[in-house]
């Protein structure tokens, strides 16, 4: 099935434009709020203590001597093997008026416990983070956030936060008013909706093309984008909201990324035809991709395939290798003139840039920004879109390939049909010659011998009537004529010896010799350049037309006109017979289909003009070159 490339392109561009507009709308809604959120990160002091060694009571009482230091953001606070303690002392006026939610943006905090002690009041204890059960979280639809009691801005006290984090995370703290938080939460959801919707559109769109075109690259793409998306989603609170409501202790990010990179490598290999072009690169990359899949699975299932301490690093290295391979393969292909590789290179560049930006943010090389928090999602979506454009491009490539293949098949078919016709013609020539020279010649000798006998006899001696010698001689002549006629019909021996013009004229002559049909043939010189195959084709079709006139037309006049015009030799045969309705008869009767096909095989043209009662004119011609 052929698919219109332009339509594919436009659908892809349209989808991308739609997603961008929606994302823009979300971002716009986000930026609408002027006062909120209020950044409070720099108010905190930070200290570290080995896991579980220090209790909140000790920190409150300041007996643990943790050595709190003021924070200078951005900074990356994670220290492996330690609890991260954050402390904020506040006086009246320190909290913004109406602040009701405190958010610690980022979803990599595994366990976050907060104690809020207001002077002369109770301690508010809240627990959240990835490992906290979703239903037990103080603020649900957020990465990590806690509630703030009313009237906090007029009070003094202390907020203590203990975090347990396995991976590098920069710290930020944002205070929101209730309405501003609601809007923010809604926008987060909307962004997720746009992101997932966009991905879903891309997946369905390309899955459809994959199914229609039966092209593996599309399926790899779908696998890649799906795995990448799920991997990105594992960094949000959605898995705990829907899958691990009791809080997730295991992170499937790496296994999922492994699957994604596996598909990415398969995709780039299929898309750029690496297997054929660079067999070694294909073997190596496929091996690494499969290995990555195995490592990922081992990681997810906690199989002791590689030392646990190394597994993360090995998988990370493979992931990086896969991404680099993707980039290098597409860049090289692009430079080698495969234009369809450009979107691949661009998409991987975009994804890597987004990942780098996100990593830079997590290591606090870049300050907190909402866009950075979503950098990976943005990168994945952009990647999906650009690859989708590449696949839209591929539709054209595949279409071209298929057209070329169809043309080649057609050419082959024609080639064999021509060969068959020529072989048939050669056979006929042989039979014709054999008939003429064996039976014909035998009859001739027989006849002459009989004549010799007759000459040696006295008049009246040879007998008379059907068994008489004279009768036998006449019978021989008859058979001889028949054999010569058959031989001529089988193959026009004149064609090779006397040329097309004479052969056509003789055919007319023979056909109409003993009929009342008045015939005329005006045959111009046959140009030198007309190949033998084409001459014989013209001859055969002429013969067929003449036979049709004889058998079906009931004509009283036939005219044949053959002449060169431009770079073709054209024949017109017209009779004044009964005619027929070509559109009704189609090509079924009269061998018209055969004639048309025969002419077409050798690159000529064939047309019929006829109507009942109007006679018939057949026009056909052959190009010289």
């Amino acid at each position: 099935m052929m698919i219109n490339t332009h339509i594919c392109r436009w659908v892809a561009v349209l989808a991308i434009a739609l997603v961008l507009v929606l994302a823009g709308a979300v971002a716009h809604a986000q930026g609408d709020e002027t006062a909120w959120p209020v950044a409070l990160g720099e108010r905190f002091e930070v200290a570290w203590a080995p896991y579980g060694e220090v209790s909140a009571e000790q920190v409150f009482a300041d007996t643990a001597d943790l050595g709190f230091q003021p924070l200078a953001l951005p900074s990356q606070l994670t220290r492996s093997g330690n609890d991260l303690w954050l402390r904020m002392r506040f006086e009246p006026g320190d909290w913004p008026e109406d602040a009701r939610v405190l958010e610690f943006p980022g979803h990599l905090y595994n366990d976050v416990t907060t104690w809020l002690k207001v002077e002369g009041g109770l301690i508010h204890f809240q627990r959240t983070g990835r490992q906290a059960s979703f239903s037990g979280r103080p603020v649900r639809h957020a990465d990590v956030a806690i509630n703030l009691p009313e009237g906090l801005s007029s009070q003094s006290g202390m907020l203590l936060v203990r975090m347990w984090v396995g991976v590098p995370v920069p710290f930020a703290a944002k205070a929101w008013s209730e309405p501003a938080w609601q809007r923010h939460a809604f926008n987060q959801r909307a962004w997720m909706g746009v992101f997932l919707g966009g991905v879903l559109v891309l997946l369905v769109y390309n899955l459809f093309f994959g199914l229609v075109l039966r092209d593996r690259a599309y399926f790899y793409y779908v696998g890649y984008l799906a795995a990448l998306t799920v991997s990105v989603l594992s960094y949000t609170s959605l898995p705990e909201e829907y899958l691990f409501t009791g809080g997730s202790r295991r992170v499937f990010t790496l296994p999922l990324a492994s699957v994604a990179v596996f598909f990415a490598v398969m995709f780039v290999n299929a898309f750029l035809d690496i297997r054929r072009r660079q067999p070694l690169a294909w073997q190596l990359s496929t091996a690494v991709a499969v290995l990555l899949l195995v490592f990922g699975a081992a990681l997810a299932l906690r199989l002791p395939l590689i030392p646990t301490a190394l597994s993360g690093n090995v998988v990370h290295a493979c992931l990086l290798l896969g991404g680099l391979y993707f980039l290098v393969a597409s860049l090289l292909s692009w430079f080698q003139g495969r234009r369809e590789a450009r979107f691949l290179a661009q998409s991987m560049l975009v994804l890597l840039v987004c990942l780098a930006a996100y990593l830079a943010y997590t290591y606090a090389l870049l300050p907190y920004h909402p866009l950075l928090l979503h950098a990976v999602e943005i990168g994945a979506l952009a990647e999906g879109m650009l690859l989708s454009l590449a696949l839209a491009d591929r539709v054209r490539v595949i279409n071209q390939q298929r057209e070329a293949a169809e043309r080649a098949a057609m050419d082959a078919q024609r080639f064999y049909a021509r060969k068959l016709l020529l072989a048939q013609e050669a056979d006929r020539e042989r039979f014709s010659g054999a008939l003429h020279d064996t039976i014909g010649h035998g009859m001739l000798v027989l006849k002459q011998n009989l004549e010799k006998i007759a000459a040696g006899l006295a008049p009246g001696q040879g007998g008379s009537g059907p068994t008489g010698l004279r009768e036998q001689i006449d019978y021989c002549t008859e058979i001889l004529d028949d054999v010569r006629g058959m031989s001529h019909d089988l193959h026009p021996h004149q064609l090779r010896r006397l040329g097309l013009a004479t052969a056509m004229r003789t055919t007319m002559e023979r056909a109409f010799a003993n009929t009342d049909v008045e015939w005329n043939a005006e045959i111009g010189p046959v140009p030198e350049g007309l190949s033998d195959e084409r001459q014989i084709t013209l001859y055969r079709v002429t013969q067929e037309c003449v036979n049709n006139v004889l058998k079906h037309a009931g004509a009283s006049e036939v005219i044949l006109l053959a002449e060169s015009s431009g770079d073709a030799y054209n024949v017109r045969i017209k009779d004044d017979g009964e005619g027929f309705a070509p559109e009704r008869t189609g090509d079924a009767g009269l061998g018209l289909a055969g004639m048309r096909e025969r002419i077409r095989l050798f690159g000529g043209r064939f047309e019929i003009h006829s109507a009942p009662g109007e006679g018939t004119e057949v026009r056909f011609g052959m190009p010289l070159a």
Binding site: Q448, R484, N520, E522
Partner: protein, 233 residues
């Protein structure tokens, strides 16, 4: 049947000559060569000096033996008789070629005579005719088997017709002739002119007579050759 006189015989024919005329017989059928030799043997002043079973062999022998006559079959493997004929005169201008063939198509006859054959004998009647043939050829005439005579259609050459002859046609006749020139059948001409088919046929006959066109193809040929004049008039 005598078609025309050979303009200048290179030698004088005589019933008794000091040396018999040499003959090459080229035919791919041994039986036929044998038969021909038998027929020729009793003829005085003729001797078959060479045989060939292919065109190439015939040509080579013509080149080296320079026979007086060559009897060529039209259909031979490889180079056929017409091709040999075409090249033989360049090699041996005095050679007289007698085509002996089983093809009785007038087209072959025309072509053979065009190429300068001295005789065209159809194999059916070779036995009876070959003696006459040699006599005629020796006399510098061109000989063609009588059986071809009835079927001989002269090559449709256009006799020069005075262009002024067109003026002798009536306007109706000119219209009819223009129709013929434009590849119209008589029925179509009749319909276009709103006259009967018979009338068109009569016109055609009259035109042919006025222009002294003989033979069925001459009218069309003339009409097409003068198409421009007919249409402008």
């Amino acid at each position: 049947m005598l078609i025309e006189r050979f303009p200048a015989a290179p030698y004088t024919a005589g019933t008794v000559s000091a040396e018999p005329k040499s003959i090459l017989v080229a035919d791919d059928h041994p039986i036929f060569r044998q038969g021909l030799k038998q027929i020729i043997a009793p003829l005085e002043g003729l001797a078959v000096v060479a045989e060939a079973e292919s065109g190439d062999s015939a040509l080579a022998q013509i080149r080296y033996l320079k026979p007086d006559y060559a009897i060529l079959d039209l259909a031979m493997p490889g180079m056929d008789g017409l091709k040999v004929l075409e090249q033989a005169h360049a090699l041996h201008p005095a050679l007289k070629v007698i085509i002996v063939t089983s093809y009785d198509d007038p087209a072959y006859l025309e072509r053979a005579l065009d190429l300068g054959a001295a005789a065209y004998v159809v194999k059916d009647s070779a036995g009876e005719n070959i003696a006459d043939c040699f006599a005629a050829v020796a006399a510098g005439e061109i000989y063609v088997s009588p059986s071809m005579g009835s079927r001989t259609a002269l090559k449709p050459t256009l006799d020069p017709v005075d262009a002024a002859a067109l003026d002798s046609l009536t306007p109706t006749e000119r219209t009819v002739l223009a129709g013929v020139a434009n590849f119209h059948t008589s029925k179509e001409i009749a319909r276009d002119m709103d006259i009967s088919y018979r009338t068109v046929q009569n016109h055609r006959a009259n035109i042919a007579e006025k222009l002294h066109l003989k033979g069925r193809h001459q009218l069309v040929r003339f009409a097409r050759a003068n198409r421009a004049a007919l249409e402008s008039g």
